[in-house]
Symmetry: C2
Subunit: 115 residues, 2 copies
DNA sequence: GCACATAGTGTCTAAAAGGATACCGTGAAG
DNA sequence: CTTCACGGTATCCTTTTAGACACTATGTGC
């Protein structure tokens, strides 16, 4: 997406502002994958084909800054970093599931039409 | 958002592909406003402060191309163009409402935290 | 001594998104 | 005669996004 200026806050309706938090090519997918539980950095990378290391890092940092996910670093070698949904992230579950349901039932016909 | 190349189709999961259809700074807001019924171009413009004429036109065209909204032109002067949700657009209602609910209950605390 | 795995960071660049501004035709109103 | 409303277009320019690629540290295994 476009991307909304960081925290314009007072502008727009709640839908618009909610969007700014999950805006980014990979954020929703990341949140969706984390619905099923904690994942490590490279596990996420493997689950989301196409994402680059840099983008994954960026998106995870933004999600963390917005309080939607939790990042836990274990002081080990090799490093171990685990990502999981925060309570707030989990509260997005209805949105994520609604989106997936919609995709599952509508995408095939839409893509067929576009072809 | 970034914006996904037009119809890469076979890539990514259903969530990811569903996202590409509602990607764009204003699309979800437009769909949300149309949930309540048909609106004319300038009505939408007034309901969505901050959108420019060009962007509104672009987003409406893309939504139409993806079969989510219907555009009806009346041959009158001054012109009258009405936009409404297609059946497919209406099927997004659960997603839109889930997003709004989430925003209403979570945005204030998130924005307070960010401040 | 070499490569490997983890979880990154840095830089550079291309492409896309989106904003600003000006302009268009028509008919009715003043 | 001028202006207004409507629903756009056209052009230009800036910002944002995100992809490629190289590089890092550390400890372990071969």
């Amino acid at each position: 997406m476009p991307r909304v200026l960081k925290k314009p806050s007072s502008t727009g309706c709640s839908v618009e502002r909610a969007l700014s938090l999950i805006d980014g090519k990979w954020k929703i997918v990341i949140l969706y994958k984390l619905l099923r539980g904690t994942l490590r950095f490279n596990e996420l990378r493997r689950l989301i084909p196409g994402v680059t290391q840099r983008m994954l890092t960026n998106q995870l940092r933004e999600l963390e800054a917005d309080g939607l996910i939790v990042r836990v670093v274990y002081a080990q070698v090799p490093p171990r970093v685990e990502y999981s949904l925060s309570a707030r992230g989990e509260s997005l579950e209805p949105v994520l599931l609604a989106l997936k349901d919609w995709g599952d039932t509508n995408l095939s016909s839409i893509e067929a039409q576009a072809a």
